[in-house]
Amino acid sequence: MAHPGLEDLVERFREARREAEADPGNPGQLELHRRLAEDCPAFTQNLLFLAWRLLRFEGPERPLEDRLAEVQRLLEMAVLGSYRSAPAVVELGFFLDTYRDAPHEAARLYEEAGARALETVRESWRGLIRYWNDERTKETLEKALKLGELAEKLFPDHTPLMLEVLTTRRYAALDGLLSP
């Protein structure tokens, strides 16, 4: 059977989300997420969503340990399939912390996820500050100065970002926003 198309998968995910909002406890939408997970185990957003909803909404007729085992399997698949993306790693951390009494392992995962996510923040800020520098209006330079201060505290050792911050200050001085 041909692999379902990406847009089709995302649409099915949206539909399940919509149903979940309209009728949170309905086991039908868990089925939608489950079928989606079977059709495409690499669609990690769905795995994360299914994992937590399953824990919250599946009825008491199924033993808790069974459910926990499935949740853990889903979260581990999400970590694997996303190549250890920050959202998947942090969710597995919370699971192990709370349901497996493994706070030390969880702490390692929190650290890993935090470091990953910070890299994304850092690159986003560099792009944003560069954009504001390129626009070079009073308003955008003021925004860049403000974010630059924060960037300096958070990422003092990241040269490309710090050089972009220096560009902001240079522009601000040249354009009369800062005393040189």
Binding site: R116, D134, L150, K153, L154, D157, T159, L163, L166, R170
Partner: protein
């Protein structure tokens, strides 16, 4: 906005804990210059790094390289930090003409800039000097020269 509140909290925490260890690894041969650098490092968070960045930003690459070498030898900045700074200098020294041929065939590509470095392009933008190329052309070339680092080894944040 929640994210900004979060960021402000994180920044506060990091700022509070940012006094770097300045345990000296410099040996007896260390110059007074190094001692001054260490004093700087004790005074503020990674101020040697900041000073190197300032030199790079001003285009004083030779001075920056000397300082990088001294600071690395003295253990004031780490090897990866030094490598990152040297890479940035190399990038700023890259000439427009060194971009790949396919990029240089892009529409409106300012081939008249081919012997100019990224640093010079940035200076033209800084001084609003549009005599050689339009502002849009300068910005395009700047981004093309700045971003190969994403595609080359690390793909930015993608590992």
């Amino acid at each position: 906005m929640r994210i900004w509140r979060f960021v402000a909290v994180v920044a506060g925490v990091l700022a509070a804990g940012c006094a770097h260890s300045t345990d000296s690894t410099a040996d007896a041969s260390s110059s007074r210059y190094l001692e001054r650098l260490e004093a700087d490092a004790r005074a503020g968070c990674s101020s040697v790094g900041a000073r190197i960045n300032a030199l790079i930003a001003r285009g004083q690459f030779a001075e920056a390289e000397v300082l990088i070498a001294e600071a690395t030898a003295g253990g004031l900045i780490s090897q990866p930090q030094a490598a990152e700074k040297l890479q940035k200098i190399a990038q700023l020294s890259t000439k427009v003409g060194q971009l790949s041929a396919s990029l240089q065939r892009a529409k409106d590509f300012p081939s008249q800039l081919k012997d100019h470095t990224l640093f010079e392009v940035k200076q033209m933008l800084e001084n609003k000097n549009f005599s050689l190329a339009t502002e849009a052309q300068l910005k395009m070339v700047k981004k093309l020269l700045e971003d190969p680092e994403r595609v080359m080894e690390k793909m930015g944040t993608v590992r």
